[in-house]
Amino acid sequence: MKYVVSVEGDQHQIEIEGSTVLMDGRPLELDVRQIGDLPLYSMLLDNESTEVSVEEDGRFRYSVMLAGELYSVSVRPAGTQPAADRSLHLASDNVVRAPMPGLVTAAPVQVGDRVAAGQVLVVLESMKMENPLPAPAEGVVHQVHVAVGDSVEKNQPVVTLKYDQENVAARDDGGE
C-alpha cells in the first residue's frame, strides 16, 4: 500500500508491505507495538527504538509527538487528492472554539466588528488563569455564541468569523 506523506511541508513516498517499509524507495524493517490501548506506539525502525504518540486531528492529518518534539503529518493514499482535506480544514477554521472548558469572563467584540489577527475575541477563565482567545486571522465577526458568565465546554464554538480568501491561504501556509 502506497502513501503520499507530508511532514512539516516536505513530501515523502511511503509504502508499507508486511514488516517492510519503503521510505522514498529505501527499505526499512518496521516492528510496532501499541502500548495498552493508548495512542502510544513502541517502534523499532531498523532496530532504532522510539516511542511515539500519534493523534489524529482531522481527516488524513496526524500530530506525532516524538522525543519532545511535535510533528504535524498528513497521510493520504497515493492517487487521492489533498483538496478535500484543505476545504475541510478551511471550513472548520471559520469557527473559533474554546480550547478548554471554562468560564467566559469577557467578550469584547460585537457582530460586524472587523478584527485583526491576534485580537482578543473572548476571555476564558480556566485553571485559575485568564485565557484570551485571539482571532486566528484578520476578518469580520459573523456571530458571537457566548456571553460573559457562560460556562463553556471544550470545543464549544464561541465566535464565528468571516475571512478574506488571501488571509486563509496565507494562514494555511503558515499552519503547515
Binding site: E8, Q34, M43, L45, Y62, K128
Partner: protein, 498 residues
C-alpha cells in the same frame, strides 16, 4: 499545645497527597476533603477518611472556611494542615481553626495576617532593617495611577493577598495599566477572595532567590539553605533548584542571615519561605515571606535529608525543632520541574480531560510528587499543576541529566502537558550554564521548531502506520484492533500466557 493524632488536610492534588504521606509515616490518621470534582482524586483514595465540602468551584468548597471547619468537626480531627494555596495564607481560616479548638499546622494567624498582607509585610521588614523593592505602598495616601507614574514603567501589579503569581501582571506602558489592573483584580479575587493590589518597581535582570526557614514555638528559627526560582512563566515558577548557581558562599551566608532575621523578628513558627530578588550587582531585596509549605519544598528536602512536612507537624504539636543550624548539611544538588496540564503548542492553554494512561518516571535520584493516575479527570476548576519531578544529583550536571532522563520517560495520554517545553528548557545552553534571570523564559526563550530529518522520517512512518492500520489492511494476517500483533512472528509467549 495539643497532641496531634488526626489531621485534616484542607487541600487537594499533589500537596494533599504529600501531606497525607507524611502523616501516615508518623502514624497519624488522615482526613481528606473533596469537592464534587475530586471524589475519586488520589488524596481521597489515600486518606483514612474523606468528607465532601461542596461543589467543584473552589469558592464553594476548598475555599469555604465554614465547610472545611465543619468537616473537621464532623471527623473529630484535632488538627488541620492547609498545604499551599486555597486557605493556606488566610488568617481568618487559621483563626477559625484555633477558635474551634483545632491545631493549625502553620504559623499563628497574626503572623499569617502580617505576612500574608504583602504591604504590611514590606512595612514590617523595612522596619526590621531588611531591604525591600520600591512600591506604591510606601506612600499609601496617593492613588495608584500617580504612584505608577512615580515608580516609572515597566512595573508590576501584585495582589496584596497574593502568592504563586496569581493576580500578578506586568505593565509596560501607562495605557496597559487600566486593563491590567482589571485582569489582576479579577484573578486575585478568584484566587484569594480579595482583589486588593499594589505596584512594585521592576528590578531589572533580577534572579529569584528564596530561603526555606523552619521555626518552633520556643524562638528557634533555622534555614535549610537557598532555592533559585528564576525560571518563571506568567510569574509562575516552573523550575526550582538548590543550591543556586548565582550565590557565592559569602552572599549565601549574608542572605541566610537576613532570612533568619526576618523569621526571628516575626517570631516565626512552622515552615516558611523568605523570598528575595537578587540583581546583577549582588544587591538583594526582600520580596515576601510565604507563611506556609512551598510548592518547591521538596528540593530542600532532597539535599538536606529533612522531611519539612513532618517537622511542621512536630512543631505544631509543641515540640522543639530537632535540628540546630549547624546540623543542616547540604548534599549534592536538587532540581524540581513542575508538570502542568497546559499545551505548550497552543500558547499554554489549560488542557483538561480524562487521563487515559500515565507512566511517571522513577529510579535513582528521581522523586515524583503527583496527584494523577490512570483514569483521573483533570478539571478546569483548579491549578494546572498535576505533578512535580524532583531530580537529585551529586552535581548540578548530574541532576540536569537525570531530569532530562526522567522527562524523556514520562508518558501521559488524554491531556497535554508542558513536558516538551521543559525538555527544551533543560537542554538550553543558558539554563545549563546557569545564565538566566526571572525574565529569561518570556524574553529570551521560545519553543524551538528546528527541523530534525531523522525524527521527521520516524514521525512520517508512525503516522502512515496508524493510517494504514485504520484502513484495516492487515499485513502478515494481523489484527487491526491490536496492531502490535500484526507484525513479526508471534512468540511462544502468546501461546503460553495468553
Amino acid at each position: 499545645m495539643a497532641m496531634i493524632r488526626k489531621v485534616l488536610v484542607a487541600n487537594r492534588g499533589e500537596v494533599a497527597v504529600r501531606i497525607i504521606r507524611a502523616c501516615r509515616e508518623l502514624g497519624l490518621r488522615t482526613v481528606a476533603v473533596y469537592s464534587d470534582a475530586d471524589r475519586a482524586a488520589l488524596h481521597v483514595r489515600l486518606a483514612d477518611e474523606a468528607y465532601r465540602v461542596g461543589p467543584a468551584p473552589a469558592g464553594e468548597s476548598y475555599l469555604s472556611i465554614a465547610n472545611i471547619i465543619d468537616a473537621a468537626v464532623r471527623s473529630e480531627a484535632d488538627s488541620v494542615h492547609p498545604g499551599y494555596g486555597f486557605l493556606a495564607e488566610n488568617p481568618r481560616f487559621a483563626q477559625a481553626c484555633l477558635e474551634t479548638g483545632l491545631t493549625f499546622v502553620g504559623p499563628d494567624y497574626e503572623t499569617i495576617r502580617l505576612l500574608g498582607d504583602k504591604v504590611e509585610a514590606r512595612r514590617f521588614m523595612r522596619a526590621a532593617g531588611v531591604p525591600i523593592v520600591p512600591g506604591s505602598d510606601e506612600h499609601p495616601g496617593k492613588d495608584i495611577v500617580s504612584a505608577a507614574e512615580r515608580l516609572g514603567y515597566p512595573l508590576l501589579i501584585k495582589a496584596t493577598a497574593g502568592g504563586g503569581g496569581k493576580g500578578m501582571r506586568l505593565v509596560r506602558t501607562p495605557e496597559e495599566l487600566g486593563p491590567a489592573l482589571e485582569l489582576a483584580r479579577r484573578e486575585a479575587k478568584s484566587a484569594f477572595g480579595d482583589d486588593t493590589v499594589y505596584l512594585e518597581r521592576i528590578v531589572q535582570g533580577a534572579r529569584h532567590i528564596e530561603f526555606q526557614i523552619l521555626g518552633d514555638s520556643y524562638g528557634n528559627v533555622i534555614h535549610l539553605g537557598d532555592r533559585e526560582c528564576s525560571i518563571q512563566r506568567r510569574h509562575q515558577k516552573i523550575i526550582e533548584e538548590t543550591p543556586s548557581r548565582a550565590l557565592t558562599g559569602e552572599l549565601r551566608h549574608r542572605m541566610g542571615e537576613v532570612a533568619l532575621l526576618a523569621g526571628r523578628s516575626a517570631q516565626y513558627t512552622s515552615a516558611g519561605t523568605v523570598e528575595f530578588l537578587l540583581d546583577g550587582d549582588g544587591n538583594f531585596y526582600f520580596l515576601e515571606v510565604n507563611p506556609r509549605l512551598q510548592v518547591e519544598h521538596a528540593v530542600s528536602e532532597m539535599v538536606t535529608g529533612l522531611d519539612i512536612v513532618k517537622e511542621q507537624l512536630r512543631v505544631a504539636a509543641g515540640r522543639r525543632l530537632r535540628y540546630r543550624q549547624e546540623d543542616i548539611r547540604i548534599r549534592g544538588w536538587a532540581i524540581e520541574c513542575r508538570i502542568l496540564a497546559e499545551d505548550p503548542y497552543a500558547n499554554f492553554a489549560p488542557s483538561t480531560g480524562k487521563v487515559t494512561g500515565v507512566y511517571e518516571p522513577a529510579g535513582p535520584g528521581i522523586r515524583v510528587e503527583s496527584g494523577v493516575y490512570d483514569g483521573f479527570e483533570v478539571t478546569p476548576y483548579y491549578d494546572s499543576l498535576i505533578s512535580k519531578i524532583v531530580a537529585w544529583g551529586e552535581t548540578r550536571g548530574d541532576a540536569i541529566m537525570r531530569m532530562l532522563r526522567a522527562l524523556d520517560e514520562f508518558r501521559i495520554a488524554g491531556i497535554k502537558t508542558n513536558i516538551p517545553f521543559c525538555q527544551q528548557l533543560f537542554n538550553s545552553p543558558s539554563f545549563i550554564g546557569g545564565q538566566f534571570d526571572t525574565s529569561f523564559l518570556e524574553q529570551r526563550f521560545s519553543l524551538s521548531t528546528k527541523r530534525r530529518q531523522a525524527q521527521e522520517m520516524v514521525a512520517a512512518v508512525a503516522a502512515t502506520y496508524v493510517e494504514h492500520m485504520k484502513r484495516g489492511l492487515r499485513p502478515g494476517g494481523g489484527d487491526a484492533a491490536t496492531p502490535g500483533s500484526a507484525w513479526r512472528r508471534v512468540g511462544r509467549v502468546e501461546a503460553v500466557s495468553g
